[in-house]
């Protein structure tokens, strides 16, 4: 496969959330606002790129029997770094995501890519795969977070860092009552279900016309 395809597959064809259905825990839990989803996606992307590169480099010297624990050690190290960086430089986002940052360690996407791709491919391809998959994941979380935030709160928070706040008010809460359930857990499942159905519908449409 060409390098370009390794990069773009994460966005649509092998999108980690919508096709591989991996990383459901952060996908459902933190997407209460668009920016939370984006932040989670970016944190995962950083860890994914790092772990893919390192694991691709050391895959040859790890004994096969202990490869999973070794991957976990690598991933956990990177997650701890991301966790501390976020706590230092983006404390608001860090407290909003809370427990789900340390939980990136057990995110199936990262371990899945390490096992299925990075350990079998060269460093360049592994890095591209990490970037593509990570950004695809971040994009999905951003879209899911946008849907939930607009429906459940009437706003769309694109960026929030210290004093800089880029937030659109889609409709006023006084005029139109927001559907509160979309901010809560059931709304996450419903929104994800419809997003999945929509993607499959487009895929089916494409296949028919191809």
């Amino acid at each position: 496969m060409s390098a370009g395809k390794e990069f773009t597959k994460g966005f649509w064809r092998e999108n980690p959330s919508l096709v591989l259905l991996l990383g459901m825990c952060p996908t459902l839990a933190v997407t209460t606002s668009a920016f939370n989803g984006l932040g989670m996606g970016m944190a995962t992307t950083v860890v994914l790129i790092g772990s893919n590169i390192i694991i691709s480099l050391i895959a040859g010297i790890i004994p096969k029997k202990v490869r999973i624990p070794s991957y976990i050690v690598v991933i956990a190290t990177l997650v701890t770094m991301v966790d501390m960086f976020m706590a230092a430089y983006a404390p608001d986002l860090h407290s909003a995501l809370g427990l789900f940052i340390p939980l990136i360690v057990v995110n199936c996407i990262i371990l899945g890519r390490a096992e299925a791709f990075a350990s079998k491919n060269s460093v360049g391809y592994a890095a591209l795969d990490g970037i593509g998959m990570g950004l695809g994941f971040a994009l999905t979380l951003f879209i899911l977070g946008s849907i939930r935030e607009v429906l459940g709160n009437g706003t769309l928070t694109v960026f929030k860092y210290k004093e800089v706040l880029l937030q659109f008010v889609v409709y006023h809460k006084e005029a139109i009552r927001p559907v509160l359930v979309f901010i809560l857990a059931p709304g996450a499942f419903i929104a994800l279900g419809f997003l999945l159905a929509f993607k499959n519908y487009i895929d089916g449409f494409k296949k028919k016309n191809a």
Binding site: R177, L180, V181, F182, P186, I190, G193
Partner: protein, 340 residues
């Protein structure tokens, strides 16, 4: 096939000439007394809620069937209309039309057609929509107008109200008990709960008598069996009786729990939904007892004043297990002894 002398059809071989339409329109008929009482009690507003939810449910069914390239005539089989009517009956009468439309959408599209349409939905569509709305719009879904508007306001609340407001809202009897049982208990009049003309509540739940009438019609027509309603009401009564005997000051008596809230509409019309209730008698009894116990537990010690909708949905989830567990033994069945 036509050349064969003996065509072998699949079972069942005995038909009683029933159909989805017949069953659904009978359920519709059985709900008419409750609907009339509510329209009488809440006036035009109740008629509006019921009409919007029923028509919207049928329209959404039609759209979904078109979208999935199925036979669109299935939207007139009555199942969508019954779902819409049941949803309308579980809502307060002053709810805005937009919320009703969202409710009908959730009931038909999300709770029913997404799972494959009639017969494939794991959860009761009307109740799924009601619980969805309760979580999505907690404010409007828990504001209960008094029946007959201001005429009864002074009577019920003990304050003189002149014509200053369009409607008066107040807590349901169950809500009042939840807030302060000791204070609310002496004000409760069982007659009001039975006839339902003076108690606040959802459109369809106010008159226990009208619902009972509908339930008896369903039993008479053999649309439902006695197992589920009896098990639900008996288990609610059992727990209520125990708690009432222990502490009559803080716990209401069983009759209050029978006639207040949505117990009757739930027990007769919601819990008995063919698609989401167990098939076999033993399973129905266990299912009904589960619904009743969960209802009374939520009512007495839960966070919400009324729990029957949650109870039925939880037991809906258990239904497939109950169906596997309670398969009756065929006549003459013997367990094969293992050689040991």
């Amino acid at each position: 096939m036509e050349n064969r002398t003996f065509a072998v059809a699949n079972s069942p071989h005995v038909h009683d000439n029933s159909s989805i339409q017949k069953i659904m329109w009978n359920v519709f008929l059985a709900l008419i007394p409750a609907t009339f009482v509510s329209v009488y009690a809440f006036g035009f507003q109740a008629a509006r809620v019921i009409a919007v939810s029923t028509i919207a449910a049928v329209v959404f069914e039609y759209i979904a069937l078109l979208f999935m390239k199925r036979d669109w005539r299935a939207c007139f089989d009555g199942s969508a209309a019954v779902t819409g009517l049941l949803l309308g009956l579980t809502l307060p009468s002053n709810i805005s039309t937009g919320i009703i439309l969202i409710g009908s959408f959730v009931a038909i599209i999300i709770a029913k057609q997404v799972f494959g349409g009639l017969g494939h939905n794991p959860f009761n569509p009307a109740l799924t929509a009601r619980v969805f709305l309760l979580i999505a719009f907690p404010g409007p879904l828990t504001t209960w107008p008094l029946p007959r508007g201001l005429e009864n306001a002074s009577k019920f609340m003990g304050v003189a109200t002149t014509k200053v407001a369009d409607a008066v809202t107040t807590a349901t009897p169950l809500g009042a008990i939840k807030q302060n049982a000791v204070q609310a208990m002496p004000n409760i009049n069982i007659n009001d709960l039975v006839f339902g003309l003076q108690t606040p509540g959802s459109i369809g739940e106010i008159s226990a008598l009208a619902l009972l009438l509908g339930g008896i019609w369903l039993l008479y027509k053999k649309i439902i069996t006695w197992h589920i309603p009896v098990a639900v009401i008996a288990s609610v009564g059992f727990v209520a009786l125990i708690t009432w005997r222990i502490d009559p000051k803080h716990y209401a008596d069983p009759f209050f729990h029978f006639f207040a809230g949505g117990l009757f509409i739930g027990a007769f019309f919601m819990a008995t939904d063919y698609v989401t209730a167990p098939i076999f008698s033993t399973g129905k009894l266990i299912y009904g007892a589960g619904v009743g116990l969960l209802t009374i537990i939520i009512r007495l010690w839960g966070g919400y004043p009324e729990g029957i909708s949650f109870a039925i949905l939880i037991m809906n989830a258990v239904t497939p297990l109950l169906d596997r567990w309670t398969v009756p033994k065929p006549f003459g069945f013997q367990k094969v002894r293992s050689k040991s």
